[in-house]
């Protein structure tokens, strides 16, 4: 007899799906998976997109569906919700440490954001740890990242945007 995988097993399988643009992180620790329901032989996963224009969204959806099928579900459904909107505060603490080791400065807490604000707290250089850094461009090679330069070690680096 084939046993239906439990919701826990589904979560574990989804944690194997990498974020296509930051492969060091998976979609679960990115905070994109909101809910998992197992109803008989069917799995329903509710996800929330990070950036609305993210070109990797369909790749992520396919990744989720593939992981569920490989787990043995004949019927899978991936639902998308926008509320509450995804924020960098959804990124798990261990994922922040991974980002830093990967050379990307993790986002500072977002909370409630004002319309325009000065950069209050400095972003720490992921290479040398200096706080003497400057933002060079709020837009980086992907929608989720900005470009910085470290004034101490002189290296450019990417920082996760705070949204």
């Amino acid at each position: 007899m084939v046993r239906t995988p439990s919701a826990d097993q589904v979560w574990q399988a989804l944690a194997e799906v990498p974020d296509p643009e930051i492969p060091v992180l998976n979609v679960v620790e990115m905070g994109m998976v909101r809910d998992v329901q197992v109803e008989g032989g069917k799995a329903v996963v509710t996800m929330t997109p990070t950036f609305s224009g993210c070109p990797a969204l369909h790749v992520i959806r396919e990744g989720l569906e593939r992981a569920l099928r490989e787990l043995g579900f004949a019927e899978v459904e991936v639902r998308t919700v926008l509320f509450p909107p995804w924020s960098t505060d959804c990124i798990a603490p261990e994922a922040r440490a991974k980002l830093e080791r990967y050379g990307i400065a993790p986002p500072r807490p977002a909370g409630e954001l004002g319309l325009i604000e000065l950069e209050l707290e400095p972003v720490r250089c992921p290479r040398c740890g200096s706080l003497d850094t400057s933002v060079k461009n709020p837009f980086g090679p992907t929608l989720c990242k900005s470009l910085y330069v470290c004034n101490a070690c002189r290296e450019p680096f990417e920082g996760f945007k705070r949204v």
């Binding site: 950036f51 224009g53 926008l82 995804w86 709020p138 929608l143 945007k161």
Partner: protein
Amino acid sequence: MNEQVKQALIAKLTALADDELILAHRDSEWVGHGPILEEDIALANIAQDELGHATLWYGLRSALDGSDPDRLAFFRDATEFRNCELVELPKGDWAFTLLRQYLFDAYETLWLSAAKDSTYKPLAEVAAKVLREERFHLQHTRAWVERLGLGTEESNRRMQAALDAQWGYAQQLFVPLEGEALLVEGGIVPDLTELKGAWLSHTTQHLQNSGLKLPLQPGYQPASRQTHTEHLWSLLAEMQSTARWDSEAKVW
């Protein structure tokens, strides 16, 4: 939701989506041509964000009338588009592009901040989502207006020329659609006349602080969104060419 309100909402969502789509296309014309690599990348990011926002607005319309966002983008003719004329003007020079983006970003940020309290929940959710991304645009384009306005004689001259050309067009962003009053009454969308005050005070102050003069006589008088400049036709010819070349293709 009664039929009249629904039709007004469909029209409004179309206008919102069309603005973002056409602006995204104009911005994307800089890809590979930006003055410096980082700015080329920044504008490509902004174009991509606006395109993502267009997808969300078309998606809300689709939930109401079952329309296909791809068909709306690639198979409608210019007369059916409801974008404002500001976004369809040719990209011009760097100052022209950044000023347009700034004027639009300021409007969009204010509109979204108000729309996130909409009584129509799907619209409130999209507004809250988009607002978090939009702040970066305004931060970036604000800085460029200041940099060019207070830069050299030449950069100031170009920025002033862009402002003289665009100021009138930008006012069209605050012309309500036919039937929009119904939506405002129901708390579904913010009142544009109220927003215009906030937009004017924000932009006027920033433009003047950036060494620019507001044009006294805007040449263009805001019209309805059914009218377009001749530029929309050539823009669509380019933007829609691939889809129309093989309309049955599964993937473009």
